[in-house]
Amino acid sequence: MSPVLEVRDLVKEYPVRGGLLRRETNTVKAVNGISLTLERGKTLGLVGETGCGKSTVGRCLVNLVTPTSGAVLLDGQDLSKLTAKELRAARRRIQLVFQDPYASLDPRQSIASILVEPLQLHKLAQGQESQRISELAELVGLSQSVLEQYPHELSGGQRQRVGIARALALEPEIIVLDEPVSALDVSVQAGVLNLLDELQVRLNLAYVFIAHDLSVVRHISHEVAVMYLGRIVEQVTTDKLYENPLHPYTKALISAVPVPDPRIERSRQRILLEGDLPSPLNLPAGCSFKSRCWKSTELCDTLPSLNAQDEHFVACHHPEKA
Protein backbone atom coordinates (compact mmCIF):
# COMPACT_ATOMS: atom_id res chain seq x y z
CA MET A 1 0.00 0.00 0.00
CA SER A 2 1.42 3.37 -0.94
CA PRO A 3 1.53 5.93 1.84
CA VAL A 4 -1.00 8.76 1.74
CA LEU A 5 1.51 11.17 3.23
CA GLU A 6 5.25 11.20 2.99
CA VAL A 7 7.67 13.66 4.53
CA ARG A 8 11.24 13.76 3.27
CA ASP A 9 14.11 15.45 5.10
CA LEU A 10 11.96 18.23 6.48
CA VAL A 11 13.95 21.15 7.86
CA LYS A 12 12.59 24.32 9.38
CA GLU A 13 14.99 27.02 10.48
CA TYR A 14 14.07 30.21 12.21
CA PRO A 15 16.37 33.20 11.96
CA VAL A 16 17.62 34.67 15.21
CA ARG A 17 18.17 38.39 14.92
CA GLY A 18 20.39 40.39 17.17
CA GLY A 19 22.38 43.55 17.50
CA LEU A 20 21.49 47.08 16.62
CA LEU A 21 20.64 46.43 13.00
CA ARG A 22 18.65 43.30 13.77
CA ARG A 23 20.81 41.33 11.42
CA GLU A 24 20.42 37.63 11.21
CA THR A 25 23.03 36.34 13.62
CA ASN A 26 22.10 32.71 13.90
CA THR A 27 19.44 30.18 13.05
CA VAL A 28 17.48 27.82 15.22
CA LYS A 29 16.72 24.51 13.63
CA ALA A 30 13.27 23.76 15.03
CA VAL A 31 12.99 20.74 12.76
CA ASN A 32 16.23 19.20 11.67
CA GLY A 33 15.76 16.68 8.90
CA ILE A 34 12.68 14.58 9.56
CA SER A 35 11.24 11.85 7.36
CA LEU A 36 7.90 10.19 7.96
CA THR A 37 5.37 8.09 6.13
CA LEU A 38 1.72 7.67 6.96
CA GLU A 39 -0.60 4.99 5.64
CA ARG A 40 -4.26 5.59 4.90
CA GLY A 41 -6.45 4.94 7.91
CA LYS A 42 -3.55 4.77 10.37
CA THR A 43 -2.37 6.95 13.24
CA LEU A 44 1.18 8.11 13.64
CA GLY A 45 1.95 9.47 17.10
CA LEU A 46 4.55 12.22 17.32
CA VAL A 47 5.78 12.65 20.90
CA GLY A 48 8.38 14.74 22.59
CA GLU A 49 8.79 17.42 25.19
CA THR A 50 8.41 21.19 24.90
CA GLY A 51 10.67 22.58 22.19
CA CYS A 52 11.32 19.31 20.38
CA GLY A 53 9.76 20.64 17.20
CA LYS A 54 6.72 18.39 17.01
CA SER A 55 4.24 21.24 16.60
CA THR A 56 6.39 22.81 13.89
CA VAL A 57 6.26 19.54 11.98
CA GLY A 58 2.45 19.62 12.25
CA ARG A 59 2.33 23.18 11.00
CA CYS A 60 4.60 22.37 8.07
CA LEU A 61 2.27 19.54 7.10
CA VAL A 62 -0.70 21.89 6.70
CA ASN A 63 1.45 24.63 5.24
CA LEU A 64 0.92 27.11 8.06
CA VAL A 65 4.69 27.16 8.20
CA THR A 66 6.79 26.97 5.06
CA PRO A 67 9.59 24.42 5.44
CA THR A 68 13.13 25.66 4.83
CA SER A 69 13.91 22.52 2.88
CA GLY A 70 12.60 19.05 2.38
CA ALA A 71 9.37 17.90 0.84
CA VAL A 72 5.84 17.05 1.93
CA LEU A 73 4.26 14.61 -0.50
CA LEU A 74 0.56 13.95 -0.64
CA ASP A 75 -0.10 10.76 -2.61
CA GLY A 76 3.32 11.25 -4.15
CA GLN A 77 2.61 14.89 -5.10
CA ASP A 78 5.11 17.43 -3.78
CA LEU A 79 3.11 20.23 -2.17
CA SER A 80 5.81 22.82 -2.77
CA LYS A 81 5.62 22.22 -6.54
CA LEU A 82 1.90 22.95 -6.81
CA THR A 83 0.34 26.08 -8.24
CA ALA A 84 -1.71 28.23 -5.86
CA LYS A 85 -4.92 26.72 -7.19
CA GLU A 86 -3.71 23.14 -6.88
CA LEU A 87 -2.44 23.84 -3.40
CA ARG A 88 -5.85 25.08 -2.36
CA ALA A 89 -7.38 21.85 -3.53
CA ALA A 90 -4.64 19.83 -1.85
CA ARG A 91 -5.24 21.61 1.42
CA ARG A 92 -8.70 20.18 1.57
CA ARG A 93 -7.16 16.76 1.94
CA ILE A 94 -5.05 17.53 4.99
CA GLN A 95 -6.58 19.37 7.91
CA LEU A 96 -5.47 20.47 11.36
CA VAL A 97 -7.16 20.34 14.76
CA PHE A 98 -5.68 22.76 17.26
CA GLN A 99 -4.72 22.28 20.88
CA ASP A 100 -6.76 25.08 22.37
CA PRO A 101 -10.34 24.67 21.23
CA TYR A 102 -11.27 28.08 22.58
CA ALA A 103 -8.54 30.09 20.89
CA SER A 104 -9.07 28.35 17.59
CA LEU A 105 -12.74 29.29 17.30
CA ASP A 106 -13.63 32.87 16.33
CA PRO A 107 -15.46 34.27 19.38
CA ARG A 108 -17.77 36.38 17.20
CA GLN A 109 -19.06 33.56 15.03
CA SER A 110 -21.82 31.14 15.87
CA ILE A 111 -20.99 27.45 15.61
CA ALA A 112 -23.12 27.17 12.46
CA SER A 113 -21.18 30.00 10.88
CA ILE A 114 -17.86 28.42 11.90
CA LEU A 115 -18.86 25.13 10.29
CA VAL A 116 -20.29 26.65 7.13
CA GLU A 117 -17.14 28.66 6.41
CA PRO A 118 -15.04 25.79 5.00
CA LEU A 119 -17.98 24.67 2.85
CA GLN A 120 -18.38 28.13 1.36
CA LEU A 121 -14.66 28.56 0.81
CA HIS A 122 -14.49 25.38 -1.22
CA LYS A 123 -17.99 25.59 -2.71
CA LEU A 124 -19.01 22.29 -1.15
CA ALA A 125 -22.57 21.11 -0.54
CA GLN A 126 -23.84 24.20 -2.32
CA GLY A 127 -27.49 24.84 -1.58
CA GLN A 128 -27.42 22.17 1.13
CA GLU A 129 -25.02 23.81 3.55
CA SER A 130 -27.37 23.75 6.52
CA GLN A 131 -28.11 20.08 6.00
CA ARG A 132 -24.41 19.35 5.80
CA ILE A 133 -23.55 21.20 9.01
CA SER A 134 -26.28 19.29 10.83
CA GLU A 135 -24.68 16.08 9.62
CA LEU A 136 -21.28 17.27 10.77
CA ALA A 137 -22.60 18.15 14.21
CA GLU A 138 -24.18 14.75 14.49
CA LEU A 139 -21.00 13.05 13.32
CA VAL A 140 -19.00 14.52 16.20
CA GLY A 141 -21.75 13.99 18.76
CA LEU A 142 -23.01 17.55 19.13
CA SER A 143 -26.70 18.30 19.48
CA GLN A 144 -28.33 20.52 16.87
CA SER A 145 -28.99 23.27 19.40
CA VAL A 146 -25.24 23.84 19.67
CA LEU A 147 -25.23 25.23 16.13
CA GLU A 148 -26.92 28.44 17.22
CA GLN A 149 -24.55 28.97 20.13
CA TYR A 150 -21.27 30.83 20.37
CA PRO A 151 -17.92 29.32 21.39
CA HIS A 152 -17.93 30.85 24.89
CA GLU A 153 -21.25 29.14 25.64
CA LEU A 154 -19.83 25.65 25.08
CA SER A 155 -17.82 23.39 27.34
CA GLY A 156 -14.22 22.51 26.49
CA GLY A 157 -15.16 19.12 25.11
CA GLN A 158 -17.93 20.55 22.94
CA ARG A 159 -15.56 23.17 21.57
CA GLN A 160 -13.02 20.56 20.61
CA ARG A 161 -15.77 18.63 18.84
CA VAL A 162 -16.55 21.79 16.87
CA GLY A 163 -12.87 21.99 15.92
CA ILE A 164 -12.97 18.39 14.72
CA ALA A 165 -16.22 18.97 12.80
CA ARG A 166 -14.69 21.98 11.06
CA ALA A 167 -11.75 19.84 9.95
CA LEU A 168 -14.11 17.10 8.76
CA ALA A 169 -16.20 19.54 6.72
CA LEU A 170 -13.67 19.40 3.92
CA GLU A 171 -13.70 15.58 3.85
CA PRO A 172 -9.95 15.28 4.36
CA GLU A 173 -7.96 12.09 4.19
CA ILE A 174 -5.45 13.19 6.79
CA ILE A 175 -5.98 15.12 10.00
CA VAL A 176 -3.07 16.55 11.94
CA LEU A 177 -4.10 16.63 15.60
CA ASP A 178 -1.90 19.03 17.55
CA GLU A 179 -2.31 18.17 21.24
CA PRO A 180 -6.07 17.83 20.72
CA VAL A 181 -6.90 16.69 24.24
CA SER A 182 -4.25 18.28 26.43
CA ALA A 183 -6.46 21.26 27.30
CA LEU A 184 -9.33 19.00 28.35
CA ASP A 185 -10.20 17.41 31.67
CA VAL A 186 -9.69 13.64 31.80
CA SER A 187 -13.35 12.67 31.82
CA VAL A 188 -13.92 14.86 28.75
CA GLN A 189 -10.69 13.75 27.09
CA ALA A 190 -11.90 10.14 27.02
CA GLY A 191 -14.96 11.12 24.99
CA VAL A 192 -12.89 13.01 22.42
CA LEU A 193 -10.36 10.17 22.09
CA ASN A 194 -13.14 7.64 21.55
CA LEU A 195 -14.68 9.94 18.96
CA LEU A 196 -11.37 10.16 17.10
CA ASP A 197 -11.13 6.37 17.12
CA GLU A 198 -14.65 5.97 15.76
CA LEU A 199 -14.20 8.60 13.06
CA GLN A 200 -10.98 6.99 11.89
CA VAL A 201 -12.66 3.66 11.33
CA ARG A 202 -15.77 5.17 9.79
CA LEU A 203 -14.07 7.60 7.43
CA ASN A 204 -10.77 5.76 6.91
CA LEU A 205 -8.86 8.81 8.16
CA ALA A 206 -5.14 8.96 8.68
CA TYR A 207 -4.01 10.88 11.78
CA VAL A 208 -0.79 12.55 12.73
CA PHE A 209 -1.30 12.71 16.49
CA ILE A 210 1.04 15.22 18.12
CA ALA A 211 1.16 15.02 21.91
CA HIS A 212 3.36 15.14 24.96
CA ASP A 213 1.19 12.71 26.92
CA LEU A 214 2.66 9.27 26.33
CA SER A 215 -0.31 7.45 27.78
CA VAL A 216 -2.70 9.07 25.33
CA VAL A 217 -0.33 8.39 22.46
CA ARG A 218 -0.08 4.72 23.35
CA HIS A 219 -3.83 4.46 23.40
CA ILE A 220 -4.43 6.04 20.00
CA SER A 221 -1.41 5.51 17.74
CA HIS A 222 -0.48 2.60 15.52
CA GLU A 223 3.07 3.79 15.26
CA VAL A 224 5.01 6.31 17.33
CA ALA A 225 7.92 8.60 16.50
CA VAL A 226 9.82 10.13 19.43
CA MET A 227 11.37 13.54 18.83
CA TYR A 228 14.23 15.21 20.65
CA LEU A 229 15.52 18.66 19.66
CA GLY A 230 14.22 18.63 16.12
CA ARG A 231 15.11 15.06 15.24
CA ILE A 232 13.40 11.71 15.41
CA VAL A 233 15.36 9.52 17.80
CA GLU A 234 13.17 6.42 17.67
CA GLN A 235 10.26 5.17 15.62
CA VAL A 236 8.41 1.88 15.72
CA THR A 237 4.98 0.32 16.14
CA THR A 238 3.36 1.46 19.36
CA ASP A 239 3.47 -1.52 21.69
CA LYS A 240 7.03 -2.29 20.69
CA LEU A 241 8.10 1.21 21.61
CA TYR A 242 6.52 1.06 25.04
CA GLU A 243 7.56 -2.48 25.84
CA ASN A 244 11.04 -2.32 24.47
CA PRO A 245 12.37 1.20 23.98
CA LEU A 246 15.83 1.21 22.46
CA HIS A 247 16.84 4.85 22.77
CA PRO A 248 17.93 5.97 26.25
CA TYR A 249 15.83 9.11 25.90
CA THR A 250 12.70 7.12 25.08
CA LYS A 251 13.42 4.90 28.03
CA ALA A 252 13.77 7.86 30.38
CA LEU A 253 10.67 9.53 28.97
CA ILE A 254 8.51 6.44 29.44
CA SER A 255 9.84 5.82 32.92
CA ALA A 256 8.92 9.36 33.95
CA VAL A 257 5.23 9.02 33.10
CA PRO A 258 3.20 8.25 36.19
CA VAL A 259 0.73 5.38 36.02
CA PRO A 260 -2.55 5.66 37.95
CA ASP A 261 -1.84 2.50 39.90
CA PRO A 262 -0.17 2.77 43.31
CA ARG A 263 1.29 -0.74 43.42
CA ILE A 264 2.86 -0.46 39.99
CA GLU A 265 4.12 3.01 40.84
CA ARG A 266 5.87 1.73 43.96
CA SER A 267 7.72 -0.93 42.00
CA ARG A 268 8.78 1.28 39.12
CA GLN A 269 12.28 2.47 38.56
CA ARG A 270 12.43 6.10 37.42
CA ILE A 271 15.28 7.26 35.27
CA LEU A 272 15.94 10.83 36.35
CA LEU A 273 17.60 12.81 33.59
CA GLU A 274 20.37 15.14 34.59
CA GLY A 275 20.23 18.78 33.69
CA ASP A 276 17.96 20.53 31.28
CA LEU A 277 17.29 20.52 27.59
CA PRO A 278 20.26 22.19 25.82
CA SER A 279 19.42 25.47 24.14
CA PRO A 280 18.48 24.89 20.49
CA LEU A 281 20.72 27.88 19.72
CA ASN A 282 23.72 26.00 20.96
CA LEU A 283 23.31 22.34 20.16
CA PRO A 284 26.11 19.99 21.08
CA ALA A 285 27.90 18.45 18.13
CA GLY A 286 27.01 14.84 17.47
CA CYS A 287 24.12 13.25 19.34
CA SER A 288 22.03 16.04 20.84
CA PHE A 289 21.06 13.86 23.81
CA LYS A 290 24.63 13.11 24.87
CA SER A 291 24.78 15.90 27.47
CA ARG A 292 22.06 14.17 29.51
CA CYS A 293 22.72 10.56 28.62
CA TRP A 294 24.18 8.06 31.09
CA LYS A 295 25.57 5.95 28.27
CA SER A 296 27.41 8.56 26.26
CA THR A 297 30.95 7.88 25.07
CA GLU A 298 33.31 9.52 22.62
CA LEU A 299 31.39 7.82 19.86
CA CYS A 300 28.46 10.11 20.62
CA ASP A 301 30.39 13.13 19.33
CA THR A 302 29.36 11.97 15.88
CA LEU A 303 25.73 12.19 14.88
CA PRO A 304 24.04 8.78 15.03
CA SER A 305 21.88 7.98 12.01
CA LEU A 306 18.38 6.60 12.25
CA ASN A 307 18.88 2.91 11.58
CA ALA A 308 16.35 0.15 11.51
CA GLN A 309 16.35 -3.38 12.67
CA ASP A 310 13.06 -5.18 12.05
CA GLU A 311 11.35 -1.89 11.28
CA HIS A 312 12.43 -0.51 14.66
CA PHE A 313 14.20 2.77 13.93
CA VAL A 314 16.60 4.22 16.46
CA ALA A 315 19.24 6.93 16.28
CA CYS A 316 21.71 5.92 18.97
CA HIS A 317 25.26 4.59 19.18
CA HIS A 318 24.44 2.60 22.29
CA PRO A 319 20.87 1.38 21.95
CA GLU A 320 19.32 -0.90 24.53
CA LYS A 321 19.21 -4.53 23.59
CA ALA A 322 16.21 -5.40 21.50
Binding site: L64, R91, F98, L105, D106, P107, P118, L121, E153, A167
Partner: protein, 300 residues
Amino acid sequence: MAEVTAVAKLPSNGRSKFLQRFIRHRLALLGGLTLLFLFIACFGAPIFAPFPKNQQDLLLGPVPPSFEHLLGTDDLGRDYLTEILYAGQVSLLLALSVALVSTAIGVLVGVLAGYKGGWVDNLFMRITDLFLVVPAIALLALALQGLGRSPFSIVLVLSLIGWTYIARVVRGQVLSLREREFIEAARVIGANDRQIIWKHVLPNLGGVIAVNVALAVASAIIIESTLSFLGFGVQPPQTSWGNMLSQASGLIGTSKVYLLYFPGLFILIAVLAVNFVGDGLRDALDPRSGSGSMQGRKRK
Protein backbone atom coordinates in the same frame (compact mmCIF):
# COMPACT_ATOMS: atom_id res chain seq x y z
CA MET B 1 -8.39 32.04 40.86
CA ALA B 2 -9.39 29.88 37.96
CA GLU B 3 -12.01 28.07 39.94
CA VAL B 4 -13.84 31.26 40.68
CA THR B 5 -14.00 32.54 37.14
CA ALA B 6 -15.21 29.19 35.95
CA VAL B 7 -18.12 29.62 38.24
CA ALA B 8 -19.26 33.00 36.95
CA LYS B 9 -22.36 32.58 34.86
CA LEU B 10 -21.87 32.89 31.15
CA PRO B 11 -23.99 35.36 29.26
CA SER B 12 -26.89 33.62 27.62
CA ASN B 13 -26.98 35.85 24.60
CA GLY B 14 -24.26 38.21 23.46
CA ARG B 15 -26.50 40.93 22.09
CA SER B 16 -28.97 41.25 24.96
CA LYS B 17 -26.06 41.19 27.40
CA PHE B 18 -24.49 44.03 25.46
CA LEU B 19 -27.67 46.09 25.80
CA GLN B 20 -27.93 45.28 29.48
CA ARG B 21 -24.42 46.42 30.14
CA PHE B 22 -24.87 49.58 28.10
CA ILE B 23 -28.10 50.52 29.84
CA ARG B 24 -26.60 49.83 33.23
CA HIS B 25 -24.02 52.43 32.40
CA ARG B 26 -26.26 55.33 33.48
CA LEU B 27 -24.07 58.10 32.16
CA ALA B 28 -23.85 56.44 28.77
CA LEU B 29 -27.60 56.17 28.62
CA LEU B 30 -27.96 59.80 29.62
CA GLY B 31 -25.34 60.78 27.03
CA GLY B 32 -27.06 58.74 24.36
CA LEU B 33 -30.44 60.31 25.05
CA THR B 34 -28.94 63.81 25.10
CA LEU B 35 -27.25 63.20 21.79
CA LEU B 36 -30.41 61.85 20.25
CA PHE B 37 -32.29 64.89 21.50
CA LEU B 38 -29.65 67.26 20.05
CA PHE B 39 -29.77 65.54 16.68
CA ILE B 40 -33.54 65.63 16.50
CA ALA B 41 -33.63 69.26 17.59
CA CYS B 42 -30.95 70.40 15.12
CA PHE B 43 -32.01 68.43 12.08
CA GLY B 44 -35.66 68.91 12.89
CA ALA B 45 -35.01 72.66 13.22
CA PRO B 46 -37.40 73.55 10.36
CA ILE B 47 -40.12 72.02 12.54
CA PHE B 48 -38.92 72.64 16.09
CA ALA B 49 -37.13 75.98 15.85
CA PRO B 50 -39.30 78.76 17.27
CA PHE B 51 -38.59 81.07 14.29
CA PRO B 52 -37.65 80.61 10.65
CA LYS B 53 -33.97 80.61 9.86
CA ASN B 54 -32.32 84.01 9.41
CA GLN B 55 -35.48 85.91 10.23
CA GLN B 56 -34.14 89.31 11.13
CA ASP B 57 -35.87 91.84 13.30
CA LEU B 58 -33.64 94.88 13.09
CA LEU B 59 -36.05 96.92 15.14
CA LEU B 60 -35.80 94.45 17.98
CA GLY B 61 -31.98 94.27 17.98
CA PRO B 62 -30.21 92.21 20.60
CA VAL B 63 -32.38 91.26 23.56
CA PRO B 64 -31.43 89.05 26.49
CA PRO B 65 -33.17 85.69 27.02
CA SER B 66 -36.87 86.07 27.51
CA PHE B 67 -39.94 83.94 27.35
CA GLU B 68 -40.38 84.69 23.66
CA HIS B 69 -36.72 84.33 22.76
CA LEU B 70 -35.45 81.62 25.11
CA LEU B 71 -31.81 82.33 24.36
CA GLY B 72 -32.29 85.95 23.39
CA THR B 73 -31.53 87.46 19.99
CA ASP B 74 -28.40 88.69 18.24
CA ASP B 75 -27.49 92.10 16.84
CA LEU B 76 -29.72 91.58 13.85
CA GLY B 77 -32.62 90.54 16.04
CA ARG B 78 -32.46 86.87 14.99
CA ASP B 79 -33.70 84.32 17.50
CA TYR B 80 -30.53 82.85 18.97
CA LEU B 81 -31.96 79.41 19.74
CA THR B 82 -33.04 79.07 16.09
CA GLU B 83 -29.59 80.11 14.93
CA ILE B 84 -27.87 77.67 17.28
CA LEU B 85 -30.04 74.78 16.13
CA TYR B 86 -29.29 75.47 12.48
CA ALA B 87 -25.60 75.95 13.24
CA GLY B 88 -25.72 72.62 15.07
CA GLN B 89 -26.64 70.94 11.79
CA VAL B 90 -23.34 72.04 10.34
CA SER B 91 -21.29 71.26 13.45
CA LEU B 92 -22.78 67.84 14.05
CA LEU B 93 -22.72 66.82 10.42
CA LEU B 94 -19.12 67.93 10.08
CA ALA B 95 -18.12 66.07 13.23
CA LEU B 96 -19.92 62.91 12.21
CA SER B 97 -18.43 62.95 8.72
CA VAL B 98 -14.95 63.54 10.05
CA ALA B 99 -15.37 60.71 12.55
CA LEU B 100 -16.59 58.28 9.90
CA VAL B 101 -14.06 59.21 7.24
CA SER B 102 -11.08 59.26 9.61
CA THR B 103 -12.17 55.97 11.19
CA ALA B 104 -12.52 54.40 7.75
CA ILE B 105 -9.04 55.53 6.72
CA GLY B 106 -7.59 54.59 10.10
CA VAL B 107 -9.13 51.12 10.08
CA LEU B 108 -7.96 50.49 6.53
CA VAL B 109 -4.40 51.56 7.28
CA GLY B 110 -4.31 49.87 10.68
CA VAL B 111 -5.59 46.56 9.34
CA LEU B 112 -3.21 46.57 6.38
CA ALA B 113 -0.22 47.54 8.50
CA GLY B 114 -1.00 45.11 11.28
CA TYR B 115 -1.96 42.20 9.07
CA LYS B 116 0.66 42.53 6.36
CA GLY B 117 3.52 43.59 8.59
CA GLY B 118 6.93 44.11 6.99
CA TRP B 119 7.56 47.18 4.88
CA VAL B 120 3.86 48.06 4.59
CA ASP B 121 3.72 48.27 8.35
CA ASN B 122 6.93 50.26 8.56
CA LEU B 123 5.82 52.77 5.93
CA PHE B 124 2.40 53.37 7.48
CA MET B 125 3.73 53.64 10.97
CA ARG B 126 6.42 56.16 9.96
CA ILE B 127 3.66 58.25 8.36
CA THR B 128 1.63 58.19 11.55
CA ASP B 129 4.75 59.11 13.51
CA LEU B 130 5.11 62.12 11.24
CA PHE B 131 1.60 63.25 12.09
CA LEU B 132 2.38 62.92 15.77
CA VAL B 133 5.28 65.36 15.67
CA VAL B 134 3.66 68.03 13.46
CA PRO B 135 1.48 70.52 15.39
CA ALA B 136 -1.94 69.64 14.10
CA ILE B 137 -3.66 73.00 14.44
CA ALA B 138 -0.96 74.80 12.44
CA LEU B 139 -1.10 72.13 9.77
CA LEU B 140 -4.87 72.38 9.64
CA ALA B 141 -4.80 76.14 9.32
CA LEU B 142 -2.26 75.96 6.51
CA ALA B 143 -4.13 73.25 4.64
CA LEU B 144 -7.42 75.09 4.88
CA GLN B 145 -5.77 78.24 3.70
CA GLY B 146 -4.73 76.38 0.59
CA LEU B 147 -7.82 74.26 -0.02
CA GLY B 148 -10.45 76.82 0.74
CA ARG B 149 -12.75 76.65 3.68
CA SER B 150 -15.77 74.84 2.40
CA PRO B 151 -17.28 72.24 4.75
CA PHE B 152 -16.07 69.61 2.30
CA SER B 153 -12.44 70.62 2.59
CA ILE B 154 -12.78 70.93 6.36
CA VAL B 155 -13.97 67.32 6.52
CA LEU B 156 -11.19 66.27 4.20
CA VAL B 157 -8.43 67.99 6.14
CA LEU B 158 -9.68 66.98 9.58
CA SER B 159 -10.02 63.36 8.45
CA LEU B 160 -6.57 63.33 6.92
CA ILE B 161 -5.18 64.25 10.29
CA GLY B 162 -7.55 62.34 12.52
CA TRP B 163 -6.99 58.85 11.12
CA THR B 164 -3.59 58.28 12.69
CA TYR B 165 -4.86 57.61 16.18
CA ILE B 166 -7.32 54.90 15.19
CA ALA B 167 -4.77 53.46 12.77
CA ARG B 168 -2.39 52.90 15.68
CA VAL B 169 -5.02 51.36 17.90
CA VAL B 170 -6.34 49.09 15.15
CA ARG B 171 -2.83 48.04 14.15
CA GLY B 172 -2.09 46.99 17.71
CA GLN B 173 -5.29 44.97 17.88
CA VAL B 174 -4.66 43.33 14.52
CA LEU B 175 -1.14 42.40 15.53
CA SER B 176 -2.48 40.41 18.44
CA LEU B 177 -5.48 39.06 16.49
CA ARG B 178 -3.16 37.84 13.75
CA GLU B 179 -1.45 35.54 16.23
CA ARG B 180 -4.71 34.06 17.47
CA GLU B 181 -5.34 30.47 16.53
CA PHE B 182 -8.70 31.03 14.92
CA ILE B 183 -6.99 33.08 12.22
CA GLU B 184 -4.61 30.18 11.59
CA ALA B 185 -7.59 27.85 11.62
CA ALA B 186 -9.20 29.89 8.86
CA ARG B 187 -6.02 29.66 6.84
CA VAL B 188 -5.95 25.89 7.25
CA ILE B 189 -9.43 25.52 5.80
CA GLY B 190 -8.27 27.54 2.81
CA ALA B 191 -9.34 31.14 3.42
CA ASN B 192 -7.21 33.82 1.77
CA ASP B 193 -6.13 37.11 3.36
CA ARG B 194 -9.09 39.07 2.06
CA GLN B 195 -11.56 36.48 3.36
CA ILE B 196 -9.82 36.31 6.72
CA ILE B 197 -9.86 40.10 7.12
CA TRP B 198 -13.55 40.40 6.26
CA LYS B 199 -14.80 37.44 8.20
CA HIS B 200 -12.49 37.24 11.21
CA VAL B 201 -10.45 40.41 11.68
CA LEU B 202 -12.99 43.19 11.15
CA PRO B 203 -15.80 41.68 13.26
CA ASN B 204 -13.38 41.33 16.14
CA LEU B 205 -12.47 45.00 15.84
CA GLY B 206 -16.12 46.06 16.21
CA GLY B 207 -15.69 47.30 19.76
CA VAL B 208 -12.60 49.35 19.05
CA ILE B 209 -14.16 50.88 15.98
CA ALA B 210 -17.44 51.80 17.67
CA VAL B 211 -15.68 53.41 20.58
CA ASN B 212 -13.36 55.30 18.30
CA VAL B 213 -16.18 56.74 16.22
CA ALA B 214 -17.73 58.15 19.39
CA LEU B 215 -14.49 59.65 20.62
CA ALA B 216 -13.64 60.99 17.16
CA VAL B 217 -16.99 62.80 16.99
CA ALA B 218 -16.19 64.53 20.26
CA SER B 219 -12.74 65.60 19.21
CA ALA B 220 -13.97 66.71 15.76
CA ILE B 221 -16.57 68.99 17.38
CA ILE B 222 -13.86 70.60 19.44
CA ILE B 223 -11.34 70.94 16.61
CA GLU B 224 -13.95 72.35 14.25
CA SER B 225 -14.96 74.87 16.91
CA THR B 226 -11.36 75.80 17.54
CA LEU B 227 -10.68 76.29 13.84
CA SER B 228 -13.85 78.27 13.29
CA PHE B 229 -13.07 80.36 16.34
CA LEU B 230 -9.65 81.11 14.87
CA GLY B 231 -11.28 81.97 11.57
CA PHE B 232 -10.03 78.97 9.60
CA GLY B 233 -13.18 76.93 9.83
CA VAL B 234 -16.72 77.33 8.59
CA GLN B 235 -17.06 80.75 6.99
CA PRO B 236 -19.97 83.13 7.42
CA PRO B 237 -22.69 83.45 6.26
CA GLN B 238 -22.75 79.72 6.98
CA THR B 239 -22.85 79.21 10.72
CA SER B 240 -21.49 76.59 13.05
CA TRP B 241 -21.21 76.55 16.83
CA GLY B 242 -17.56 77.40 16.44
CA ASN B 243 -17.96 80.52 14.34
CA MET B 244 -20.94 81.69 16.39
CA LEU B 245 -18.57 81.53 19.30
CA SER B 246 -16.01 83.43 17.28
CA GLN B 247 -18.46 86.16 16.27
CA ALA B 248 -19.56 86.60 19.86
CA SER B 249 -16.02 86.70 21.21
CA GLY B 250 -15.89 90.46 21.02
CA LEU B 251 -18.75 90.71 23.46
CA ILE B 252 -16.83 89.80 26.58
CA GLY B 253 -17.42 92.46 29.15
CA THR B 254 -20.61 93.70 27.53
CA SER B 255 -24.20 92.91 28.49
CA LYS B 256 -24.51 90.69 25.40
CA VAL B 257 -22.00 88.16 26.74
CA TYR B 258 -24.79 85.51 26.77
CA LEU B 259 -24.23 85.29 23.00
CA LEU B 260 -20.87 83.77 23.83
CA TYR B 261 -22.14 81.39 26.49
CA PHE B 262 -24.85 79.60 24.56
CA PRO B 263 -22.88 78.16 21.63
CA GLY B 264 -20.16 77.20 24.12
CA LEU B 265 -22.75 75.44 26.25
CA PHE B 266 -24.01 73.43 23.29
CA ILE B 267 -20.47 72.41 22.37
CA LEU B 268 -19.85 71.35 25.96
CA ILE B 269 -23.06 69.33 26.18
CA ALA B 270 -22.48 67.60 22.85
CA VAL B 271 -18.87 66.70 23.65
CA LEU B 272 -19.69 65.41 27.13
CA ALA B 273 -22.59 63.35 25.81
CA VAL B 274 -20.46 61.76 23.09
CA ASN B 275 -17.70 60.98 25.57
CA PHE B 276 -20.15 59.27 27.92
CA VAL B 277 -21.49 57.21 25.03
CA GLY B 278 -17.91 56.26 24.13
CA ASP B 279 -17.20 55.12 27.69
CA GLY B 280 -20.40 53.14 27.75
CA LEU B 281 -19.64 51.48 24.43
CA ARG B 282 -16.20 50.51 25.60
CA ASP B 283 -17.50 48.88 28.76
CA ALA B 284 -20.46 47.27 27.05
CA LEU B 285 -18.33 45.72 24.33
CA ASP B 286 -15.89 44.29 26.83
CA PRO B 287 -17.38 40.96 27.87
CA ARG B 288 -15.25 40.92 30.99
CA SER B 289 -16.81 44.07 32.40
CA GLY B 290 -19.63 44.03 34.88
CA SER B 291 -21.51 40.84 35.54
CA GLY B 292 -20.26 38.35 38.05
CA SER B 293 -17.18 40.34 38.93
CA MET B 294 -15.53 39.03 42.05
CA GLN B 295 -13.77 42.25 42.84
CA GLY B 296 -14.92 45.31 44.61
CA ARG B 297 -17.17 43.68 47.16
CA LYS B 298 -16.18 43.55 50.74
CA ARG B 299 -17.41 40.89 53.03
CA LYS B 300 -20.45 42.00 54.94
